[in-house]
């Protein structure tokens, strides 16, 4: 089956490539420089892979063309993409954040304590705000370790990776909190025009942060800091602040993802919420074309990267290949993505 998928994608690639090129070449072709072309080509590669996988499924997977399948696949990636957006920002500075799963757990542990104990809309509102702020605080902690104490990002964030989940368990006494609070859970279970609200929220965040990276001062400083930190510092870029903001945003987004995660499950278990999400997020970032060495941030790429990984898993499952084997294929895709990145440098 896997072999078949492979040959199929090879066959479809040129055709899709053409159409994609026509689409991107729509603006004045004369202005298209190598950079633009390159960036588009780099982005195209991921888009082509994704489209090829969709096409494969349309032909070979029964019932693929349905809103339900769409919703299932999309809701599966929501938390990974939201965490992945933050991860993209941190990776753009040349860092990495291993503590996102722990941030999710902390936020997920706090929220039910708020809306279960404080009645009315006030409790719901607080349950959205405070846990995200608590997660953001974790990010500030990470950022200070990285900037003030110059701890390597992977080590700095390992601290909360280990301790964060423990904190969440201490807060909840290690017990599972089950609930049924539709007003709160609407963030995950609500639907707008048949599409889950969490999917729309995810897409909105992708658009927002893609804009932040491209158009704002912070976005530019982020790429400059990651691209050449020494030069950035000598040019007056507040590199420490930029990094601090990146880690804080990353943790806050993880906090939000934590809220969605517990809403989906109608329960919060500090042992489980966001478990392993850091690796999925990093994988999405890598497959999405953001260099792990820093200086680049493709938010859209991270969305596509997450979708590729999810769709691959779905495809394999739909064709009767066990999840355990799917993990191996997932690893293979990450290796391939990083390899392609290295070659195109």
């Amino acid at each position: 089956m896997a072999l078949k998928l492979h040959t199929e994608s090879l066959h479809t690639e040129p055709r899709l490539g053409e159409t994609a090129q026509q689409m991107t070449a729509a603006p004045p072709a004369s202005a298209a420089t190598t950079v633009r072309k390159w960036r588009h080509l780099a982005m195209q590669r991921e888009v082509i892979v994704l489209l090829a996988m969709v096409l494969f499924n349309l032909i070979f997977t029964p019932h693929f063309w349905s809103l339900q399948t769409f919703n299932v696949n999309m809701t599966q990636v929501v938390t990974i993409v939201i965490v992945g957006i933050g991860m993209t920002l941190v990776v753009a500075t040349g860092g990495i954040d291993l503590s996102v799963g722990a941030s999710m757990a902390i936020s997920g542990a706090l929220a039910p304590m708020l809306f279960l104990n404080i009645a009315g809309p006030g409790g719901i509102a607080l349950a959205f705000v405070l846990p995200v702020l608590a997660a953001a605080l974790c990010g500030v902690f990470n950022g200070l370790l990285v900037t003030r104490l110059s701890v390597q990002p992977i080590v700095a964030t390992l601290v909360l990776f280990i301790a964060g989940r423990g904190i969440a368990q201490v807060v909840t006494d290690g017990s599972l909190q089950a609930f049924n609070t539709p007003a709160f859970q609407w963030i995950a279970l609500g639907k707008v025009a048949g599409v889950p609200f969490q999917v729309l929220l995810m897409l909105a965040l992708v658009v927002l942060f893609a804009w932040v990276v491209r158009k704002t001062l912070f976005g530019q400083y982020l790429l400059i800091t990651g691209g050449n930190e020494k030069a950035a510092y000598l040019c007056g870029v507040p590199t420490a602040t930029v990094k601090l903001i990146a880690y804080t945003l990353c943790a806050a987004l993880a906090g939000l993802a934590g809220l969605i995660s517990i809403s989906v499950n109608s329960s919060s278990d500090a042992n489980v919420v966001g478990l392993g999400v850091e690796l999925d997020a990093i994988a999405a970032v890598a497959v999405g074309g953001t260099a792990l060495t820093g200086g680049k941030a493709y938010i859209g790429g991270t969305l596509i990267g997450a979708l590729i990984i999810q769709l691959l898993r779905y495809t394999l499952l739909a064709h009767g290949i066990p999840d355990a084997a799917a993990l191996v294929v997932k690893a293979g895709i990450i290796v391939a993505a990083v390899y392609v990145q290295r070659r195109s440098r």
């Binding site: 158009k215 704002t216 001062l217 400083y221 400059i224 050449n228 030069a231 950035a232 007056g236 680049k296």
Partner: protein
């Protein structure tokens, strides 16, 4: 070339040469890096190899150690024709290299580092006791008593250098190459290291010593080979070549070729200059800057002269707030300031073009547009959102006014030539509308045409009323732009040469001897009379 490699020393080699490199040539991408370079080193001597940046010293060493393959010429070591393909082969043949960044393993013990890869074994296992005993004995023979079980990273750079030397000795190196080994050591440590080097020499080993500190060369070396533009321009015993001759050969200026026609223009410029923009008083920061004082006024260009490693870059970094100031004071626009960061300096109207364009200048993957507006980006943002139209306008303006050649502003800056990259970086600072420019080697590594362009731009900026402080290894380039020069040597200001007093000769004089003494030479230089200079040199030679 005015001088040729044939100018061989008066004193013939008393010993047969251990190493003989003849007519070495090599090209990189069609550009010759070495053309008929020679180097001859005897066993039992310390041989100085000197030259400016890009003169070909490192290339020569890399060919010798097998990192590069030579294009032409011959290399004989111990009388045999050799052609190393890898550094390992050179090591095995007995040529050991000690780099500035020492290649030791910081977390392993001193003893392990000395015997790394060659550990004495017993029954197939490493005999640690033997390792430690032999290491301790070896270091003791250098007069060094340290705990060989401690990680090497805990010791000072000087001790690390000596451990590296010990490693070379223990592997029976016949020749040790020391590349800028002393650049991060203080005086006491240098003396310690020299004791060891002399011991190696007395054991009959050959040492090639690369350094830019003239005093060290005279203190340590027996003979010297001077390189310039990929050629050997002089070989001599140290005793037969005084400092001024050495500097002259290195910088490629003959004393007679002093031009003075700019003097009037410089004087006129200095008379016109505006108020003082920056004043540095007795700046100091360990280890490179010990006592530097200088001031720059609006509308003048001041040259910061000195050899490589004399503290030019470090001085500029102190003035820009990039490194913390340990001693001395700095005033900008008449107000004494304590700069906390470059950001501080920028907000006070300073700009700093770094020497190392690649490591500290460009953001390689970003576009020319993003690179050019890096510093002024802050002013282009409204509520945190960058005004793209304003940004493009600035980019277009500077691309046109500085004549930057590119396909598009969207192009990543790494695709541009060195000269165009430098113009983008210059534009980056000019876009922030500074009042004082610190330019560290603005013409380094760019082609001749771009050099002329950069010089022209700097002159125009000065005429527009900016204060400019610039350094350049090439004195010709310095005197072409600067109205006066401040000469630093080993982190100290040793001379200030104004207007008509500034000439390449006078600068070289100051570099070689410092401010005190040899005014005879400076006077001779002022009259630009070759005969006088030669006379002065003669006198000096006898004096030395």
């Amino acid at each position: 070339m005015t001088e040729s490699g044939k100018e061989t020393p008066h004193s013939p080699l008393t010993r047969s040469p251990l190493l003989e490199m003849q007519d070495i040539g090599i090209s990189f991408g069609g550009v010759p890096a070495l053309r008929s370079a020679n180097l001859s080193v005897a066993a039992g001597e310390v041989h100085a190899l000197i030259g400016q940046n890009g003169a070909g010293k490192s290339t020569m060493i890399k060919i010798l150690t097998g990192a590069y393959r030579r294009g032409s010429g011959s290399v004989r070591f111990e009388g045999r024709e050799i052609d190393f393909r890898t550094p390992k082969q050179a090591r095995e043949a007995g040529i050991s290299t000690i780099y500035q960044e020492i290649n030791l393993v910081p977390f392993r013990s001193v003893a392990e580092n000395i015997f790394l890869g060659r550990e004495p074994r017993r029954f197939g296992l490493i005999d640690w006791r033997a390792v430690q005993q032999r290491a301790a004995a070896l270091l003791e023979s250098f007069g060094l008593q340290i705990d060989v079980k401690k990680p090497i990273g805990r010791y000072s750079t000087a001790i690390q250098q000596m451990v590296a030397l010990a490693r070379a000795v223990s592997s029976d190196a016949k020749m040790v190459i020391m590349d800028e080994s002393t650049s991060s050591l203080d005086e006491r440590e240098v003396e310690l290291l020299f004791t060891v080097v002399r011991k190696l020499r007395d054991d009959g080993r050959a040492v090639i010593f690369v350094s830019h500190r003239l005093d060290e060369l005279y203190a340590l070396c027996d003979r010297v080979t001077v390189m310039r533009d990929g050629q050997t321009v002089a070989q001599s015993t140290m005793a037969d070549m005084d400092k001024l001759q050495l500097v002259t050969r290195m910088l490629g200026r003959t004393l007679a070729a002093v031009v003075q026609d700019d003097a009037e223009a410089r004087e006129a410029n200095l008379a016109r200059r505006g108020k003082q923009m920056i004043s540095a008083t007795q700046l100091g920061a360990h280890p490179k800057v010990s006592d530097v004082s200088l001031e720059v006024h609006a509308g003048e260009a001041v040259g910061l002269a000195g050899l490589l490693g004399s503290g030019r870059t470090e001085t500029m970094r102190l003035m820009f707030g990039a490194d913390p100031l340990e001693r001395g004071s700095l005033s900008i626009g008449g107000e004494t300031v304590a700069l906390k960061s470059p950001q501080d300096a920028i907000s006070r109207g300073l700009a700093y073009l770094t020497e190392d364009r690649k490591a500290e200048g460009i953001v390689p993957e970003l576009s020319v547009r993003d690179n050019l507006t890096l510093v002024c980006l802050r002013t282009l943002a409204k509520n945190g959102v960058v005004d793209v139209k304003k940004q493009q306008a600035i980019v277009d303006r500077f691309i046109a006014s500085l004549g930057i050649k590119l396909r598009s502003a969207d192009q990543p800056i790494r695709e541009l030539s060195g000269g165009n990259q430098q113009k983008v970086l210059l534009a980056r600072w000019l876009a922030a509308e500074p009042s004082l420019l610190l330019l560290d080697e603005p013409t380094r590594g760019i082609d001749v045409g771009a050099k002329a362009d950069v010089a022209k731009i700097v002159r125009e900026l000065r005429d527009a009323g900016l204060a400019v402080l610039l350094s350049a290894s090439e004195l010709e380039e310095l005197t072409a732009v600067a109205d006066r020069a401040v000469v630093i040597r080993d982190g100290r200001t040793v001379a200030e040469l104004n207007g008509a007093d500034m000439s390449e000769t006078a600068i070289m004089d100051a570099i070689a001897y410092g401010s005190d003494g040899h005014s005879q030479l400076a006077e001779a230089a002022q009259t630009a009379n070759a005969a006088h200079i030669e006379d002065a040199l003669e006198g000096d030679r006898h004096g030395a």
